[in-house]
């Protein structure tokens, strides 16, 4: 092992060259370690986000198919087009809910109603309580099958659990008194109303309100208020003209109560079912399994909604991809730079090699000496970079993530501004800005938890040593062609 000793003597004697190699190698290692660390942190954050968000799949009427059917029927019968929507039976909803990967599910039934014994919150251009003249927009659940406009004061959202309704799960609505609608409320006549509406009418939890169906005035319901919520939604532009679109005039009730308002034929049905997945990764598997159930997918469709997840992990994946490129680029560039340095050093050291070969040293041991010199440097550099890698990776990773998050938010903003109705893929309600939604939803990935792990250091060690060995071995190939007499003769 004399060549190892020689390597140490050489490094000690050529301190300047050794230091230069050490600096270069440390810089390479810091970048590689940063890249590896950011990559693993991004992967961990992405998985965490995926698990936390889950993603959802909505079972609903396939509107395109329904429209197609409507068009074909219209061509056969001369008459006005009639859009018929077939509600989803609870049995169908339950059969899909029983599949794997479903964490929870929620029913959604939209209906419209008129206030019987309380005042609604008036929109600025509408003329109050007797709103029959003003609220003749197509109201939710307005029995599209029958065509025509309906008049309504209130939007009635039937749900299995209000906590999982979009407004509540997005954080747009929040219970401030009492409780939300729960699964056990099915069949009960209970309601959760908005705080402003409650205050306007001096209503509190425990009071009752009476509403009537907008389609059939004889169908009335007396609802006990079990909760009061507050909404941050400012409503859409249309809310200025139609009271039922005013977010204060939205009432949450059990889906059974909403069905009662819509009519007997809607008993034991829902308009849509939203299934929350255990993991966004399992959506495809869930969809494949669901297709095998008895649900008629000519009429219904399952709409996967992992937009939120995609938008949240998008910046992370970009950062991870960038980090991966850093690792590749720095590794290759580093190996080339080091190989060139070693190559130059070997040219300078031909005389030394000639002498050692003349004494009887084998060419492999000479190459071994160069490899040892660079490997020792690599080990020190790996040690140093493990000290500096963490703070640098943190700064670099989070800066990259910030840039990516801002870029994604801007892209989403542009996309939503261009889209109809200002709704957007993230379900931001009316009045909520895109950046609000994005900042709310992307909290989980606002920063990366970057920590250098032993796994990162081991991987860096592997890459660093590989770079060291390759960068020393490639130029060392030239040694194998050398003859001591030629070297010494040329030297002389």
């Amino acid at each position: 092992m004399n060549f190892i000793k020689r390597a140490f003597w050489s490094m000690k004697a050529k301190k300047g060259k050794t230091l230069l190699q050490l600096v270069i190698f440390t810089v390479i290692c810091v970048f590689v370690l940063s890249g590896l660390t950011i990559q693993s942190a991004a992967k961990a954050s992405s998985e965490l986000a995926r698990q936390e968000l889950g993603g959802s799949v909505t079972l609903q009427v396939d509107r395109e198919a329904a429209m197609e059917q409507q068009r074909s029927e219209q061509s056969e019968t001369e008459g006005p087009p009639q859009f018929t929507s077939t509600p989803i039976s609870l049995d169908d909803a339950a059969s899909i809910a029983a599949l794997d990967h479903v964490n929870s599910y929620n029913y959604s039934v939209s209906a419209s109603a008129n206030a019987e014994d309380f005042d609604i919150i008036e929109s600025s251009t509408s003329s109050v309580s007797d709103s029959s003249e003003t609220n003749s927009e197509q109201a939710p659940g307005g029995d599209q099958g029958r065509g025509g406009m309906v008049q309504a004061d209130l939007t009635v959202n039937g749900t299995l659990t209000s906590d999982e309704a979009d407004s509540f799960s997005d954080g747009e609505a929040e219970i401030v008194d009492g409780r939300g609608i729960e699964a056990s409320d099915a069949g009960s006549n209970v309601a959760v109303i908005e705080q402003t509406l409650a205050e306007e009418n001096d209503l509190a939890v425990g009071d009752t309100i009476t509403i009537s169906s907008s389609n059939d005035e004889d169908t009335t319901q007396e609802l006990e208020i079990v909760g009061i919520y507050e909404t941050s939604s400012a409503g859409s532009d249309q809310a200025m003209n139609f009271s039922f679109l005013n977010p204060y005039n939205t009432v949450y009730v059990p889906y059974t109560a909403a069905n009662t308002l819509k009519g007997e034929e809607y008993t034991d049905t829902v308009e849509s079912v939203t299934y929350q997945m255990d993991d966004a990764e399992n959506i495809d598997a869930f969809l494949r399994t669901a297709e095998k159930t008895d649900v008629d997918f000519d009429v219904y469709e399952l709409d996967a909604n992992d937009d939120l997840y995609q938008q949240m992990v998008g910046p992370i994946e970009n950062v991870a991809s960038f980090a991966k490129n850093i690792v590749y680029l720095v590794t290759v560039a580093g190996a080339i730079i080091l190989a060139l340095i070693v190559m130059l050093s070997i040219r300078e050291r031909k005389y030394e090699m000639g002498v050692l070969m003349a004494i009887g040293e084998s060419k492999w041991k000479l190459a071994g000496q160069f490899v040892t010199e660079i490997v020792v440097t690599a080990i020190v550099a790996i040690g140093l970079s493990s000290l500096f890698g963490n703070p640098i990776a943190n700064v670099l990773g989070n800066q990259l993530l910030d840039q990516q998050t801002t870029a994604s938010a801007e892209a989403a903003s542009t996309s939503m501004q261009q889209g109809p109705g200002g709704g957007g893929p993230m379900g931001g309600g009316p009045g909520q800005t895109v950046s609000d939604v994005f900042s709310q939803s992307s909290d989980a990935v606002r920063s990366l938890n970057i920590n250098v792990t032993w796994e990162n250091i081991l991987l860096l060690g592997g890459i660093g040593l590989a770079v060291a060995i390759i960068s020393a071995l490639i130029p060392s190939i030239s040694i194998l062609r050398l003859q001591p007499k030629n070297i010494l003769t040329k030297q002389e």
């Binding site: 030394e352 002498v355 070969m357 004494i359 009887g360 084998s362 010494l488």
Partner: protein, 225 residues
């Protein structure tokens, strides 16, 4: 019958023109316990001959045998590693090492093992007039003569039967030169080694057991009794 340690068998050597060889079909045997000198005019091929004897080069034709084995088949690297020590005209020391480290490295490469190596090396260096302090200095800080003495000691310390030297006393003063020459002669006669030395100095040649004179590709051997 005495067996030759190193035998040149019909050795021919040329650089570029086969028709104009440096020497042709040379047959010479070298024995242990003998101090050989090679003399000749500049360009006569003394150093080339020594390179062949030291395994730094191989003949264009013919073969060189060490103890009856072809060094070509054995491999020049192995031959140099196991059997020969070379003293170069231009010292050829490793510049970043100390005198001590140069010798210790050579001993390690050739697998020479002695008890208490440091003492051994320092003692050998002292024999050629290199102090312990000088032994621990980088060789480049030593004078040319001192470096030559370190190079000679490096060859002496490696336990090989064959020692080839290319004008080892060329950079030494007369007094030191005499001392060094005595060491070479003692090495041959007392340590039972075969020493082959290229020299221009007729006085050194006169002290050798055998002087080989090179002239225009011919070899003339003068045996001194």
């Amino acid at each position: 019958m005495k067996t030759a340690l190193l035998s040149f068998k019909n050795v021919s050597y040329w650089y570029t023109d086969k028709e104009n060889p440096l020497f042709q079909s040379v047959n010479i045997d070298f024995y242990k316990n003998t101090f050989y000198t090679i003399t000749g005019t500049s360009g006569s091929g003394k150093t080339t001959f020594l390179s062949l004897a030291g395994g730094l080069d191989k003949p264009r034709e013919g073969d060189i045998e060490y103890d009856g084995k072809s060094i070509r088949k054995m491999g020049l690297g192995k031959f140099r590693h196991d059997y020969v020590s070379i003293v170069f005209q231009s010292y050829n020391l490793i510049p970043y090492m100390t005198a001590y480290q140069n010798i210790a490295s050579a001993m390690a490469i050739t697998g020479t093992k002695v008890e208490n190596q440091e003492d051994f090396i320092l003692k050998m260096l002292a024999k050629v007039g290199i102090s312990e302090e000088q032994a621990k200095q980088r060789v480049l800080t030593l004078s040319g003569g001192q470096q030559q003495r370190v190079a000679i000691t490096r060859a002496f310390c490696c336990d090989t039967e064959l020692i080839v030297a290319d004008e080892p006393t060329g950079n030494l003063d007369d007094e030191t030169s005499k001392d060094i020459l005595k060491l070479f002669i003692d090495l041959a006669h007392q340590e039972n080694k075969c020493v082959i030395m290229v020299t221009h100095d007729p006085q050194i040649a006169a002290q050798s057991d055998v002087n080989i004179q090179l002239s225009n590709g011919s070899f003339r051997m003068l045996q001194h009794v």
